[in-house]
Symmetry: C2
Subunit: 475 residues, 2 copies
């Protein structure tokens, strides 16, 4: 019974034909179906079940670690069980990095342990650790400005602070320190690097994440202190005497690994070679179970696809869900996808990835051709009752894993999640299922299902073509 | 200038004499001084400075560990620097327990690490750990009712839940499981014990705490899972297949240790041998720095004493601040204090300890003789503007470390702190300075300074005598 109105709607809309031309159009009847899918999503738990299953039965999924393959096998089996028309993998090769243990302590003047996590791609310390004096900087710019003489033989510490915000923009502050700080400190002669975690919380759980050493720079051991430990270190430093810290990291690069992007597709009924693409990334950092980052992203988009799969017929275009490989260490899966599909970029009519947790979507933006703006506005109107505003003045590149494919010409649509809580748990042991609010998760699915259906049904494209969006600025 | 009204008040009140008799009275002029002390406390940061100093410069203070002595030395120096008239130590002997490392993981069917902390007084496992199937119980009563055949050779897990409440009463649920669960499980043949942490949070930080094995029971390794890990284990169990866990604890009893209660006194101007006693405990669990449990308790009462020390003259009776030894493993400091002072219990006119964090006091209760109820009500009136209600129908035993001395006859007054946030951080690595709100901390000092001053000035006693409060029920 629940399907009857949808069937009627589909029958009514099938014969409608739009005038040919550049302007992309969305039919009234498609909007009606999208609205029903949206409302159905608010009662559907496929996304929750997927996220619960992956985080419970596989758990942490460090790229290149033993759970990389396990995660893929789990997702492939789940995609097949959910009734996708086609499930396949596309290989992605990346360096593997392994974490065995980490330890930090203040040695003098106030001996005590510090909660610490090595950064991804950090080398280990010598077996006995590195013991050296701390030189502290309040920001990345202060480190930049530092006289190398002040750093030589010391452990550099950067204590930049982040504030929780809906748009999560302070992550730019923290991630800059984490990604570029160790390389810069090494260039200036530091023997190791510590940062105040790139996070907005006050838990004794450090935030890991990738770091990157510039070519020719000697990698130095680099780790994040939890926020309370960073503040403790700063209190010790505030007393004006030298503070000595011992850092012992057993971690490091571990050869090359070939994983894969796992792709599931609902084949389109009329233009099966054209597709809407959505998804999330399958890898996670290892201290947590990667629930908000990013099992939920795959779960949300799988949940959306599942509802479309239950329609009496497939939409005109295909719909793809991609579980991307190794986002965390450098967007390897996204780049491989872009490389593999660049030659057919016009077939990727629109893309949107979910990778900022599982809290409610509050804003939609898009990077599309001008003639598709009205169609985007029609999609936005379907999302409006979900509390989602459309900002037509900002680009929407489609998300981290789709940034590479957007860069080679795919039109993008971004569904911005409320990041107020996200950066409290991001990249920590606290990234676990209990942080997900099922109601907010369903709101995400409702938005994705409407976007996916309407993009797949739209009469006309969104402007995907080689090099179309090369001038997009970062959001 | 700030002191002038106080000086005047003291001059005016000195000649006042109350009628002799059983009823304890508090003079109007003393109330006026107490009100000024209260208001001054709301602008004073002695408590913060003490708490910041102890947690930064000493850090974790596990009883019997290397910081037991360091903590005492720090506190003795601080007491002397703050201008107390007398500072001394009274020896306390207790068993020492040492934590070296702990590790837990689900071995099958979903291999993954679990965040775990050994419980105090738990024995270690054999070097390779214990690997066994989990038998789960939702509550202590369910464990009690269990057929020993179901437990033999297994790891018992109890998943009792706590809800955050102002009065913290759910700690009764969690602490019962933690203290008595391992002994009971051992009696029924279990080889190890795990509990859902006795906490109200959802952080990946387990709550440690003492456990106790009954005489004749073989101690078994016992540890707490963080709440998210407990829920993860329950999700694995919910799938209906056997769940095997490996638990490896390197910890255990480590001989006998003699620490001390450290006592600071402002000597009374008229009845120096009689005293009001307040304080907190100096030891802490080792994963955090013991800020809310219980550096703040000493800090609050030191802050109160300091304001009284700044008056132009000492109050009639003495005022003691006690930094109790080893509360966490079994109230050793409190019991030693009671044993040492039982013979002079009538001299301890009233006592109140702070040991439920640093959030605001919302309620006052007292266990005193009936003839002192009016005096208690006058004290309560001074506290009322701080948002503190007086519940005359409940006992007030004075706090955990004073429970033993209350049991031998000391009148008690309890200043109940809002425990809504307390049991999220209690006994975890998260017990750090950043969890303390300086404004709420000062409200505590304001309450203690008024109580201490008025108890020291009161004309008449509060009923302390041998065995006076033997019939008090637990709060």
């Amino acid at each position: 019974m629940r399907l009857l109105p949808l069937v009627l709607a589909l029958c009514l809309t099938a014969p409608v034909a739009f005038a040919a031309g550049k302007t992309t159009r969305i039919a009234d009847a498609d909007v009606a179906v999208a609205e029903q899918l949206r409302d159905r999503a608010l009662k559907d738990d496929t996304a929750w079940d997927f996220t619960e299953g992956l985080t419970t039965e596989v758990g942490p999924r460090l790229a290149g670690g033993p759970n990389d393959l396990k995660g893929r096998e789990w997702v492939i089996a789940k995609f097949k069980a959910l009734g996708f028309d086609k499930v396949w993998s596309e290989p992605v090769t990346y360096p593997a990095w392994v974490r065995r243990s980490e330890h930090a302590e203040i040695v003098a003047p106030f001996p005590q342990p510090l909660s610490v996590l090595a950064l991804g791609h950090s080398p280990g310390t010598p077996a006995g650790g590195i013991t050296a004096e701390i030189v502290a900087f309040p920001s990345f710019d202060a480190l930049k400005a530092a006289d190398p003489a002040s750093l030589r033989g010391k452990i550099a510490y950067v204590g930049a602070r982040m504030v929780a915000r809906q748009d999560g923009k302070d992550y730019g502050i923290g991630s800059t320190v984490r990604v570029a700080g160790p390389s810069l400190a090494s260039q200036k002669g530091a023997v190791a690097f510590l940062l105040r975690s790139a996070g907005t919380d006050h838990e004794r759980l450090p935030h890991t994440g990738i770091t990157h050493f510039e070519d020719g720079v000697t990698p130095i051991p680099a780790a994040a202190l939890s926020v309370p430990d960073a503040e403790q270190l700063e209190r010790a430093l505030a007393r004006g005497k030298p503070v000595t810290v011992k850092l012992a990291l057993d971690c490091g690069m571990d050869g090359e690994y070939t994983g894969a992007n796992v792709i599931a597709e609902l084949r389109g009924s009329k233009k099966p070679d054209e597709y809407f693409v959505m998804g999330g990334h399958l890898d996670s950092w290892d201290p947590g179970t990667g629930a908000i980052d990013d099992a939920a992203g795959i779960g949300i988009t799988v949940g959306a696809a599942k509802l479309i799969a239950e329609l009496p017929q497939r939409p005109a275009r295909s719909i793809r869900v991609v579980a991307f490989a190794n986002e965390e260490s450098g967007l390897y899966g996204g780049k491989a996808y872009a490389a593999a599909h660049a030659k057919d970029i016009a077939k990727a009519v629109l893309g949107s990835e979910s990778d900022a947790g599982a809290d409610r979507i509050y804003k939609m933006t898009a990077s599309v051709k001008p003639e598709a703006r009205d169609a985007i506005a029609r999609i936005a109107a379907v999302l409006k009752p979900l509390g989602i505003d459309y900002d037509a003045n900002q680009p929407g590149q489609g998300g981290s894993d789709l940034s590479a494919v957007h860069a080679v010409g795919m039109a993008g649509l971004s569904l911005h999640q409320d990041a107020t809580r996200y950066f409290a748990w991001h990249h920590t042991a606290n990234d676990t299922l209990d942080k997900i609010d099922p109601e907010q998760l369903r709101q995400n699915v409702a938005a994705y299902v409407a976007v996916a259906y309407l993009a797949a049904q739209a009469d006309g494209d969104f402007g995907s073509k080689p090099g179309a969006f090369a001038k997009d600025k970062d959001e």
